[in-house]
């Protein structure tokens, strides 16, 4: 089995248009959630979200590209550019054929669907733009990354709701570890902050109208965000041979299914994924210093997740830190695990743990060290990133400090 390392990372999200700005926001405990700016917002009962600000597609892409790229694809390509630039990789010949792309998204080109439903149903138009299908398809972002960077190996898109990008990154890890690929570009993207996207979530009645407060006793639901994060997973020997800068090592991954309920989380399902990831990484629970929680800010998730962590880690649950950065960038659904992995690479490389902001009242059912409101300096060698999706599909990654 081959060792797998991360040699590039990139992002765009409500906290910043790149990794440096996102890290700065994590360190400052800055919240990127605010009033939603979108068409027909007055018809929504949920009016806050983690929108990407200060981004103008016109200055980043040309007219033909904008005609073909939904916002979730635009986010993906922006994050991919930063990640691939950092990795220093170029793909030609054999390496191109041994490298691919696996991305996560839940909604795909939802802005495109929303706009065109409006046009045919609301405006009564009988004709839509010819690129509607290539824009909205879930694999569009993945395809454009492969075309832009000449990645000719295995490429596909994973959709497991809120766990999509963790499942995607787990597959990318497997591909490189098994030797099926030398380099995999991976991560996820979501852009669901449009009228139809929010309206659908309103129906479930799990959204907060004021703030995302994970683990706080007065939490009242999740807040949606948007954005993307992309990583370059590379065979360690390949990275070493070319003298690449290594950001972290990916050492474990596990998946589980609750096989129980379409929306309610299961402690057992979550615990099996966490335990499986530790086993895959061949480490003891007490070696884990930080967990980036799924931490959605719903009553059900946060207490279930804390109970699962307590079950797996026993006494060590009181020593480790676990924060939810969704409190800052919002729940980016199919892209959230990728954005949250940035908090993991920051913890390993900079020794700073991103906080859970918006925390106000202790909850006895969430009695772990959730790093409330302020980031903290701490040296950690192993970190976990949890994702527990609607549908009961769980995916947990383990990263190790590269030394």
């Amino acid at each position: 089995m081959n060792r797998v390392v991360i040699t590039g990372q990139g992002t765009i999200n409500a906290l910043g248009l790149n990794v440096a700005d996102t890290y700065a926001a994590f360190k400052d405990g800055r919240c990127g959630i605010g009033p939603l700016v979108l068409r027909d917002v007055e018809r929504l009962s949920i009016r806050i979200g983690g929108q990407v600000k200060g981004y103008d597609p016109e200055t980043t892409f040309n007219r033909q590209q904008i005609a073909l790229y939904d916002r979730f694809t635009q986010f993906t390509l922006i994050a991919a550019r930063e990640a691939l630039l950092q990795s220093g990789l170029e793909f030609h010949d054999e390496l191109a054929e041994q490298s691919g792309v696996i991305l996560g998204t839940a909604g795909g080109g939802m802005q495109t669907s929303d706009e065109n439903y409006r046009s045919v149903y609301e405006a009564g138009k009988n004709r839509v733009h010819p690129f509607v299908v290539p824009k909205l398809m879930n694999n569009a972002a993945c395809s454009h990354v492969s075309m832009t960077y000449n990645l000719k190996g295995p490429s596909f898109t994973v959709a497991t709701a809120c766990a999509s990008s963790n499942h995607a990154m787990g597959q990318a890890f497997y591909f490189v570890r098994s030797g099926m690929a030398k380099v995999m570009v991976t991560g996820g993207s979501e852009s669901m902050l449009c009228f139809g996207g929010i309206k659908a979530w309103e129906g479930l009645r799990v959204m907060s109208k004021d703030a995302c407060r994970p683990f706080s006793a007065n939490r009242n639901g999740m807040v949606q965000g948007e954005g993307a994060a992309i990583f370059v997973f590379e065979d360690y020997e390949h990275a070493r041979a070319r003298g690449a800068n290594i950001l972290a090592e990916v050492v474990g991954f596990a998946m589980s299914s609750d096989a129980a309920d379409i929306v309610m989380p299961s402690k057992q399902g979550a615990a099996r994924a966490i335990f499986g990831a530790l086993k895959d990484a061949k480490i003891n629970p007490d070696e884990v210093g930080y967990i980036n929680a799924h931490g959605t800010g719903t009553a059900a998730n946060d207490k279930t997740e804390c109970a699962a962590v307590a079950d797996v880690f026993g006494h060590h649950a009181n020593n480790l830190m676990m924060s939810s950065t969704k409190s800052m960038h919002g729940h980016v659904i199919g892209g959230t695990g990728a954005i949250e992995l940035l908090a993991c690479t920051m913890a390993l490389n900079e020794g700073i743990i991103a906080p859970t902001v918006g925390y106000q009242e202790p909850d006895p059912e969430c009695a772990l060290d959730i790093v409330p409101n302020q980031s903290r300096e701490a040296r950690v060698d192993y970190v976990l990133s949890n994702a527990f999706a609607f549908g009961g599909q769980n995916a947990v990654l383990v990263l190790k400090k590269f030394a």
Binding site: R63, Q64, A67, R127, P130
Partner: protein
């Protein structure tokens, strides 16, 4: 130059990312760098602009009854369709 010709050339020029003055009626769409997806996008713009329906199936362009190979052919086709459909 008629209004119709001017509008068609402007649609084709925008698709080819050229100045209107650089598009001649004798040019072929292929020669202007408009590929199959670009042609479908141009047809959409033409349908929107002239409120007509262009009978074009992208599966096998050679089998379509309509000739859209050159700028002049597109102008002729649009003129015929406008006359036919706006009667």
């Amino acid at each position: 130059m008629t209004e119709l010709t001017r509008k068609v050339i402007s649609i084709i020029a925008e698709q080819a990312v050229l100045e209107v003055s650089d598009v001649k009626t004798t040019d072929t769409l292929e020669g202007l760098g408009i590929d199959s997806l670009g042609l479908v996008e141009s047809i959409f713009a033409i349908e929107e602009t002239f409120d007509i329906s262009v009978p074009y199936n992208a599966n096998n362009p050679a089998e379509n009854d309509i000739d859209l190979t050159s700028v002049q052919a597109v102008i002729n086709a649009v003129r015929a369709l406008v006359e036919q459909q706006h009667r």
